[in-house]
């Protein structure tokens, strides 16, 4: 049995105890990695559809490149370890989809390939493969290329005047705001007909997919709640301090990769804490770091760094919130 399943059952039991009255039928202790991963794929569907609708073949191209290279990387690295190779757990596919959805549509092909190989290789295989990784593989790959190829992925990654899609010729809403203080309308951010990384533009798609994940209990609701609450509170404080900036709490919530990160990236059960309380702390930490980086850092968006930092703190959070052994109340 892998460590992930161990952890997962521990958590499921803990969660089952807590939620016994409200939703006992949803607790599925026999849930396998594979059915979980299929759930994640289903929940990503609205985001994928929305990105294909907004970005057309840019989204399709990124998806194909990332999924193919993640699978290739997975195959290569499991072969190097002489382990049986199976694509049936879909985890590499999900890493690929998440990397693709976090890329700007115009990112060159090699950036996506490098992100996938680094994500699977350094983020996952060196730690022993599925269920063992400390850091979210997709975010390891994404942060690697963000730092390595900031020129393609930063502000300028989104501006390709020669492209066919209208949205791509604009800068991202976060970026426009950071550089010149122009505030986009909330409805644009909500529906997502604007520029940004493929999966992050549409708030509504992220919410639909995320709520599905939480209802299916594949993702624990404490993490997105923690992220959103913290961002709302800190965004509110920022609004009080500088009321004339025009970038409201809702802008903070709907803009950038926040919802995508909160629902699909931070909720990875392997790299987040075990207990509900730990999960909430984890979410709150992600939210706080996102706000710190958004308001002050030079990088346009802080979600990947925030998730990596909190992944690093997860073992410590687990230490201080040890899940109670079974039979103890």
């Amino acid at each position: 049995m892998t460590k992930k399943e161990d952890r997962f059952t521990t958590f499921e039991k803990a969660a089952g105890k807590l939620n016994v009255a409200s939703s006992p039928h949803l607790v599925d202790t026999a849930m396998t990695t594979r059915s979980m991963m299929i759930d994640v794929l289903i929940s990503l569907a609205p985001v994928i559809l929305m990105s294909v609708y907004v970005f057309h073949w840019y989204a399709v191209k990124q998806l194909l490149i990332c999924i193919a290279s993640c699978l290739a990387a997975e195959a290569l690295f499991t072969r190097m370890r002489n382990k049986p190779f199976s694509l049936l757990d879909y985890s590499a596919v999900i890493t690929g989809v998440i990397i693709a959805m976090s890329m700007p549509g115009t990112a060159p092909w090699f950036v996506s390939v490098i992100a996938s190989f680094v994500g699977i290789g350094i983020g996952k295989s060196v730690f022993g493969g599925i269920g063992m990784n400390i850091f979210n593989p997709a975010m390891v790959g994404r942060a690697f290329v963000m730092i390595a190829f900031a020129g393609y992925l930063g502000a300028s990654g989104y501006e390709d005047a020669g492209s066919l899609v209208d949205a791509i010729t604009q800068a991202t809403p976060m970026d426009i705001f950071k550089q010149s203080g122009v505030v986009p309308s909330l409805s644009v951010l909500f529906w997502g007909v604007t520029n940004g990384s493929l999966g992050e533009t549409s708030a509504i798609a992220c919410i639909i997919g995320g709520v599905y994940l939480c209802i299916r209990r594949t993702a624990s609701w404490e993490i997105p709640l923690g992220v959103i609450l913290t961002v709302a509170v800190l965004g509110g404080i920022q609004n009080i301090v500088s009321p004339d900036s025009g970038w409201t709490v809702l802008h903070h919530l709907f803009g950038g990769a926040l919802l995508f990160g909160a629902f699909f990236i931070a909720t990875d059960p392997v790299t987040s804490p075990l207990t509900p309380k730990g999960k909430f702390i984890f979410g709150a930490g992600v939210g706080a770091i996102i706000m710190l980086l958004r308001l002050f850092s030079g990088y346009p968006e802080g979600v990947m760094f925030a998730v990596l930092l909190m992944n690093a703190l997860t073992p410590l959070i687990n230490r201080w919130n040890v899940p109670k052994p079974l039979g103890e109340h």
Binding site: P108, F110, V111, I114, I122, V126, F144, I147, A148, F149, A150, G151, Y152
Partner: protein
């Protein structure tokens, strides 16, 4: 001192079997910090060679006079003096490079390789052996440092010793010139060396 290795053995051991970086894992700060281009790496390796050679020779010369409880003080004093001299020479003749290396030259003082060699070899063996040990260890250090610097400079800038080796269309992996690139390159190299030596 029949059981002590001879000068030749010391030299050979230092280069590969007991490579200070890959095998003994000593002196990691400069290996990570100044390995983003070859010029800096070579200058660093040369400075370490100078300090290690001088410190080893001086220690070996006075080895019979050393009192056990004062020997660390003597080592530190010797090393710090030669590091200061190396630092001033660099500032006088390679001013830009000495600015680039910045605090990492004075940090040679606390580089464990040097104090370790003084303790293990120079304070027990003859001047000749100590000198060949110093050269062997420095060569090993230089090899390790430049192996990492070569990878980082080529991937990070497409250049080697500031000469272009990769086509101009090469997208620079900026991360390689930055701290994460140092950790990752060294980690992967170390694993590769472990893998090769375990397959022998």
């Amino acid at each position: 001192m029949a059981d002590q290795p001879t000068a030749t053995e010391r030299f050979i051991q230092g280069v590969l079997p007991e490579n200070p970086v890959y095998r003994q894992l000593l002196g990691l700060c400069p290996v990570l910090a100044v390995s983003n281009n070859m010029k800096a790496a070579v200058t660093m390796a040369a400075s370490v060679t100078f300090v290690l050679l001088c410190a080893n020779v001086v220690t070996s010369l006075i080895r019979n006079l050393l009192k056990p409880h004062l020997r660390i003080v003597v080592f530190t004093l010797t090393i710090a003096t030669f590091v200061t001299i190396a630092d001033r020479i660099l500032a006088a003749y390679l001013y830009q490079m000495s600015k680039t290396l910045g605090p990492y030259i004075p940090l040679i003082i606390v580089n464990c390789i040097i104090i370790c060699r003084c303790e293990v070899c120079a304070s027990k063996q003859s001047v000749f052996t100590a000198a060949s040990d110093a050269i062997g260890q420095s060569l090993g250090f230089a090899l390790a440092l430049s192996s990492i610097a070569a990878i980082r400079e080529i991937l990070g800038t497409g250049m080697f010793f500031e000469l272009r080796v990769l086509p101009a269309a090469w997208p620079d992996w900026v991360i390689m010139a930055l701290p994460p690139g140092a950790f990752l390159t060294f980690g992967v190299m170390l694993a590769a060396i472990n893998w090769i030596s375990s397959n022998k």
